[in-house]
């Protein structure tokens, strides 16, 4: 059995993966959203209200939370259809901010004191795993379907897609709503694992982080979001572990020149206090955008893998 720490890491990685997929769904149609933090908040608060104030069982509350977030997503997505690019980015950012302010001034959910005593769900890891598998299957199916192709075509040239008979409005709305629903699920899982949240829990930086998961992982394949979220969540933990391994070396092996210098340097370097870690994180983002602007995984790189039998168009 996994210890609680490992579980916790896996759960947060899992929630980040789900959040990354919530960004990926609208992104597949070319919509870039910073609203995913807001949708996570909607799902989290909706499901927590249902378990705490109405005593619903967790799975039911989680599902309803997802649906509520999805509905909010469609409501937000509808006006968002009119705009794109930077405008959409700002609109969704504004949405996330407004959700924060509402949560802050809504005393029913604790206001600034935060939402407390949310019931702890001991099976979060299982739920997270199930949802991730379901999402990967879902997006794999979408990818190999006509709908997936239609979404890609909207991403690449919206006008041309529309003129070719692709129902751009409905598909974009659907993608936005599905994304919001997935974000709602991620929020619900978070709420019942952390058992506490307040207006600052789902903030703009979280939205930006979710965006970077997908961009770093690669937004053109459905494996990208999972990869990006995993790499960026586990990287700091991994660096910590590296340092522990280093410390396992007996002193006698390292305590002479020049090995001690190397050891001291590595030891100091791997002391990843947060500021330093984030500096490295920022540098990684910049370098990534210069060397691999399409992310770690692209369709081409998938095509080159020997074991992927799938070829686009051979559905």
């Amino acid at each position: 059995m996994l210890d609680g720490y490992t579980q916790s890491i896996l759960i947060f990685t899992g929630i980040n993966i789900i959040a990354a997929y919530s960004f990926y769904a609208p992104f597949k149609t070319g919509q870039v959203s910073l609203g995913q933090a807001g949708f996570m908040a909607v799902g989290a608060y909706a499901s927590a209200i249902l378990t705490q104030k109405f005593g619903l069982p967790f799975p039911v509350a989680l599902a309803i939370g997802g649906v509520v977030a999805g509905i909010v997503g469609v409501v937000v997505g509808f006006p968002a259809l009119r705009i794109k690019g930077v405008y959409l980015l700002l609109l969704t950012l504004g949405f996330s901010e407004i959700v924060q302010v509402i949560v802050l001034s809504w005393e029913y959910v604790g206001g600034a004191q935060g939402f407390r005593y949310i019931s702890f769900n001991p099976h979060t890891l299982t739920y997270t795993a199930i949802i991730i598998v379901a999402l990967i299957l879902f997006f794999a199916r979408i990818e190999r379907s006509s709908l997936g192709r239609a979404m890609d075509s909207i991403h690449q040239d919206e006008v041309a897609a529309e003129v070719m008979g692709v129902d751009v409005v409905r598909i974009k709305l659907l993608a936005f709503g599905i994304g919001a629903m997935i974000a709602g699920l991620a929020g619900g899982l978070y709420a019942h694992h952390a058992t506490f949240m307040d207006s600052t829990t789902f903030n703009i930086m979280l939205a930006v982080e979710i965006l970077t998961f997908v961009v770093v992982g690669g937004g053109s394949t459905y494996w990208g979001p999972a990869l990006g979220a995993t790499v960026l969540t586990l990287l700091p933990e991994f660096l910590r572990t590296l340092r522990e391994w280093l410390e396992l070396l007996p002193v006698a092996w390292t305590n002479f020149f020049p090995v001690n210098r190397v050891y001291d340097f590595l030891h100091a370097f791997l002391d990843f206090e947060n500021a330093k870690r984030l500096i490295v994180y920022g540098i990684i983002l910049i370098v990534m955008m210069i060397v691999r602007p399409d992310g770690l995984l692209t369709r081409d790189s998938l095509r080159r893998l020997p074991f992927t039998r799938w070829k686009p168009g051979h559905a």
Binding site: F138, R141, S146, D152, D157, V159, A161, M164, V169
Partner: protein, 267 residues
């Protein structure tokens, strides 16, 4: 095909007007396109030809006027809806989906025929067998391949659209448009950037498309091509219609000749 010609009007444009600021891109234009015809639309640069296409396909909305397709008003329909109704087009400056393959590109065109609603598309996408493929997909692929065959692109089915040669990209646009099973096809300068040999080929391709029962409206600068294959020609200048008639009449129309004066065009 013949009875369609006899059946009369495929597309009727009445009083079509479009302004950009104070400038009239189109001013009270009336055009009738007969079913089964190849109908050419010509005019100097800036005459409003592409605007005309954008209005018919709904990419832009008109300031005044009516568009009747097969006798029914389509003014309020969104572009995708007009495609479903049977209007398809190609673009003057090629607009392919750069990251899709040739085959996928054509299958995009078929999407609206196979999946009339988004929900059905979603349902089919999710409920298909784990590793098999839906019947629809197979049919779509077969149809797409047939179209590629028809336009001579079958050999490049797995190439990326953006990697194709220029002339082939134009053909791919046509294949994509044909995949929507249109009854009216708008071709925006299909010969632009093609060499004489390719143009020759295009001549034949367009005629064959017409022979499949598709009415064609053609915007083209290559007058040899236009005069060769068109059943009827409409001439626009500065947003107004200045002439309408068969190729012979147009070639001898003094207004048209005047409009083209200064432009190095052999009528």
């Amino acid at each position: 095909m013949l009875e369609q010609t006899a059946n009369g009007v495929c597309l009727a444009i009445e009083g079509l007007t479009k302004r950009f600021g104070g400038f009239y891109a189109l001013n009270d234009v009336n055009v009738e396109v007969a079913s089964g015809h190849i109908h050419a639309l010509i005019g100097p640069n800036g005459a409003g030809k592409t605007t005309f296409f954008n209005l018919i396909t709904g990419v832009l909305s008109a300031d005044a006027g009516r568009i009747l397709f097969e006798g029914r008003l389509v003014d309020d329909a969104r572009p995708s809806n007009r495609t479903v109704k049977g209007i398809a087009r190609t673009f003057q400056n090629i607009r392919l989906f750069p990251h899709l393959t040739v085959l996928e590109t054509v299958m995009i065109g078929e999407h609206c025929r196979s999946y009339p609603s988004v929900w059905k598309a979603l349902g089919k996408a999710v409920l298909q067998r784990p590793f098999g493929e839906a019947q629809e997909e197979r049919t779509m692929r077969a149809n797409a391949l047939e179209l590629l065959e028809f336009l001579g692109l079958a050999g490049q089915r797995d190439a990326k659209a953006s990697d194709l040669a220029y002339g082939d990209q134009r053909k791919l646009e046509m294949a994509r448009a044909l995949a929507t099973k249109p009854r009216l096809l708008l071709l925006d300068e299909p010969a632009a950037g093609m060499n004489p040999h390719e143009t020759q080929e295009l001549d034949e391709v367009i005629t064959r498309i017409r022979d499949r029962g598709v009415t064609i409206v053609l915007v083209e600068h290559d007058m040899r091509l236009v005069m060769d294959i068109s059943d009827r020609v409409t001439v626009l200048n500065f947003g107004t219609k200045i002439a309408d008639g068969n190729p012979k009449e147009i070639q001898n129309n003094p207004t048209v000749i005047e409009a083209y004066l200064g432009e190095d065009v052999q009528l």
